[in-house]
């Protein structure tokens, strides 16, 4: 079965924020709202042994998404291919999913479609058209990989196989996005 996910090689990420910018452009994300951001982790250590890396964050399209289980209307749902989405026609804007998300990557957007929840869609509209998400396509460091986690020949599986991998803190939600980091010490939860 297809299980779409993303893997990000943090050793290749140059912190240019292109992914965050192109995400806003592709998805027409409102002013002050973000589906994706790039965080700076560090610097850590003591001089001269300092290290720092960039951490691109967005919805982790969890295997056991808490946002889906708490949604009272079924507006938040997970597709069979693993992509977690919000059906705006069903969303009542109760923000319960925002509370249930461990990562603070969902937002209540009043600027564009007032009164509903917004988040990264993994560019499902492009994926359904046989393309890759905009952030993957436009990453100048070629740090982002998209594909089927169950296919050992996919770009995602290959990156995971060759790197030390990490995930964000798991509180039972099982985040699907994988981060590869060899050159620095991972500062996250897992």
């Amino acid at each position: 079965m297809t299980r779409y996910t993303m893997a990000i090689d943090l050793d290749s990420c140059i912190g240019c924020h292109s992914c965050a910018v192109v995400c806003k452009q592709e998805n027409n994300v409102g002013l002050g709202t973000f589906y994706s951001k790039v965080l700076t982790i560090g610097p850590s250590g003591s001089y001269p042994d300092l290290e720092m890396y960039y951490l691109p964050v967005a919805c982790q399209h969890c295997e056991n998404p808490q946002c889906v289980s708490v949604c009272p209307t079924g507006a938040s749902y997970k597709r069979e291919d693993g992509i977690v989405l919000v059906d705006h026609a069903k969303c009542v804007g109760c923000q319960y999913c925002v509370m249930a998300c461990p990562y603070g990557v969902r937002t209540y957007d009043e600027s564009k479609d007032k009164g509903v929840i917004e988040k990264c869609t993994l560019c499902a509209h492009l994926v359904d058209d046989g393309k890759t998400p905009a952030c993957v396509r436009h990453c100048p460091g070629q740090a982002r990989f998209f594909g089927d986690a169950d296919d050992p020949e996919s770009d995602v599986s290959k990156m995971i196989a060759r790197k030390q991998t990490h995930k964000l803190t798991d509180v039972g939600n099982k985040p699907s996005v994988t981060f590869g980091l060899d050159k620095c010490e991972w500062k996250g939860g897992e």
Binding site: K37, V70, T73, C94, Q95, P102, G115, V116, G188
Partner: protein, 316 residues
Amino acid sequence: MAVQWPLLVFSVLLGASCGTLVFLGIGEIKGVFKKVRFPLAVCALVLLAVGGCASAMHLGHIDRAFYILGNMASGLSKELFAVGFAGVVTLVYAVLARKDYPGASKVLGVLALIAGVVLPLVAGASYMMPARPAWDSFTLPLMYLGTGLGLGFVLSAAVVCLRGEGDDASLALKLALVGVAASVVTMLAYVAWIALAPFPVESRSIGRLLTGSLALEFWAGVVVLGIVAPAALAWLALRKADDGAGAGAAGAGAAPAVAAAGTDGGAAAGATTAEAAGVRSAAGMLWGALACLVVGNVALRIIMYAVATSVESLIY
């Protein structure tokens, strides 16, 4: 997390409503509080309705509010269902309270008691989620239940005392003290959870309450107004009523001797007046305790939202 005022107002009013329902249920089981059951049932219904309206203000699309019953696995769906159940039970009970149907009133009273206990637990449990360590504990629904009992019992006892019924007032004042005790214990238990919650960081630490940015809300709001003042006032109210009853009994005891002198009616009236004055004075203290409890509840919920940061707040 920012304070969610519509939800905060809803939870405080819901607590007061449910505490009142439990009070009425106990009254039905013991066969007391007959004269106040209708006004108290209406009061519980109004509190629940106003709270429900306040919570609806939190929705981005009120027009889709009934979609909320779409996923009964969701805490919010369960909460709405429980609110509906409590509302219907309270409405039927209020209608029956106007007439004299002892059997039916007793059954509805017991149902009201069950609704009054279950609804705060369901409402509190809806906040339990691993993403928010400061909320992910059974002490949160217990706090919703305990503080609700405090608010509802004190409100109901104040109304009973206002009506000046001696025997009923004595039980009501004892229940008010029990309610305040439940409120105090569950408030402290929830504060203890904040100190013990997993994934500790500064934003949800107990230090933020004791000496940090939430110290005013904690010490002045929760400790002084939410715990110490209502406990003291509820205890003093009970003492005041007991003193009044004691003075009344002493006056009544003197009545036979006075009767021999031909003034028995005046002595008996004096005894009743002393008891009634004690109960009225107790009512005043209970209104004060209720005001303090409301402020304490608001303060604790402000803290509850303030410490509810997610495990990793990456974007928002």
